[in-house]
């Protein structure tokens, strides 16, 4: 299943009209996956409910900061869930670059992103499915289990260098999807 085309719309609706109906649709459609993701990172079911709740409150409050020219709604949601998990469960500070920073060096947004986000996520799914098993495993352990690459190496009993090579090869293959999207 590809990312729902309505996710970006819901976020924009929440930003523009503070629509609770849009918020509820987004909640019902996405929090079951968010909860599953947060539990996969290591949270208990109870803690995951709290992370989901906190993350969704952030979605409501920060919806105006979502910029569809800079990435998909799915990526925005992913980053909010990840950051909420880091602060809530790991109790660590998440350091991030922000555009309001006077030191921020800006660049031009990518106008292609808006029109192709859904199609792009479909292509990305296909590309991820076609990765060799051992390369996909590195990505899954990094993103879904929240393991640093050193831990991936320890778990699989392989050298860190091998893990990094697998990650690099995987990203190289996925890069072709991104390059098709960004005609530069």
């Amino acid at each position: 299943m590809a990312l729902s085309p309505t996710l970006d719309d819901w976020i924009v609706q929440i930003a523009n009209t503070q629509s609770k109906a849009a918020f509820e649709s987004l909640f019902r459609n996405y929090t079951p996956k968010l909860k599953s993701f947060v539990m996969s990172l290591g949270a208990s079911a109870g803690a995951a409910d709290e992370v989901v709740q906190e993350a969704m409150i952030s979605v409501w409050r920060r919806s105006a900061q979502f910029d569809p020219t800079r990435g998909s709604g799915g990526a925005w949601l992913f980053s909010i869930a990840r950051n909420t998990f880091i602060s809530h469960v790991r109790q660590q500070k998440r350091h991030e670059a922000t555009e309001v920073d006077p030191a921020f060096v800006s660049d031009a947004p990518d106008p292609e992103q808006l029109t192709t986000a859904t199609q792009f996520q479909e292509q990305l799914s296909t590309a991820l499915r076609s990765l060799p098993v051992e390369q996909a495993a590195v990505l899954r352990q990094a993103y879904l289990l929240g393991h640093p690459l050193q831990q991936v190496a320890n778990d699989q009993k392989i050298p860190l260098g091998t893990v990094k090579t697998r990650a690099r090869l995987a990203l190289q293959k996925l890069r072709t999807v991104f390059q098709a999207k960004e005609p530069t």
């Binding site: 996956k33 993701f37 996969s40 990526a75 640093p148």
Partner: protein, 219 residues
């Protein structure tokens, strides 16, 4: 306005860990500071977050009780608590520092202090099990003696020039030294060099002067 863009970027595997949320606290501060100055690496992180989104999208559905939705809806109309007011750490160099660094300095009440002739340093202990990150101000022309690393080292240049093996590192550039590397670095003669330095583990100085620098500056 034409801004000079960084030419020395972060390793891709580190950006992957940052996007996945698994970087160590000190490294994560350095990544955030580099990203503030580097559109190239920000685009890379955006791509990596799209991959994360895709993997998230294929997660099975967990069960969510209706009470979670009810609690969340009830919380929406409560105004957000005010962000803590940032204590000022204004100094002559503040304008050169990305916000994540200013925040960390304010939180730890860390100030640049003279540690050696020509070297001032502010220590940022961000996690108990990690060597602290350090903001270091070098006077021009200082030579950082030969030393080795038992773990990766990242030096993010915020001002001035750092030279190493014919390579030049200026504002926004990251000089990355992987485990096992032995190197000598040189501060450019044109002006002071301000840099954020992160070591993920102990380093092994090769000289007595190096031992002094290691203890005081973390290089």
């Amino acid at each position: 306005m034409i801004q000079n863009l960084p030419r020395h970027h972060l390793p891709q595997d580190l950006l992957l860990e940052y996007a996945a949320g698994t970087t160590k606290a000190t490294t994560s501060l350095l990544v955030a500071c580099h990203l503030t100055l580097c559109p190239h690496c920000r685009r890379e992180v955006s791509r990596l977050e799209e991959i994360g989104a895709n993997l998230l999208e294929h997660q099975p559905d967990a069960e969510i009780a209706d009470s979670v939705l009810a609690r969340t809806l009830a919380a929406l109309d409560t105004p957000a608590s005010m962000a803590p007011v940032r204590a000022s750490v204004a100094n002559a160099h503040s304008s050169l520092m990305p916000l994540p660094l200013l925040d960390a300095l304010a939180e730890k009440q860390a100030k640049l202090q003279r540690v050696l002739p020509g070297v001032r340093s502010a220590v940022l202990p961000l996690a108990k099990d990690l060597p602290p990150a350090r903001l270091v101000l070098f006077q021009p022309g200082i030579r950082i003696p030969s030393h080795g690393h038992q773990s990766p080292e990242f030096v993010l240049v915020l001002d001035g020039l750092l030279e190493e093996e014919e390579q030049q590192f200026r504002r926004g550039d990251v000089a990355f030294s992987d485990t096992g590397k032995i190197h000598t670095q040189m501060i450019g003669a044109e002006g002071p060099c301000l840099a954020l330095i992160v070591n993920e583990g102990p380093i092994t100085p090769q000289t007595l002067w190096g031992k002094v620098l290691k203890r005081l500056v973390g290089l």
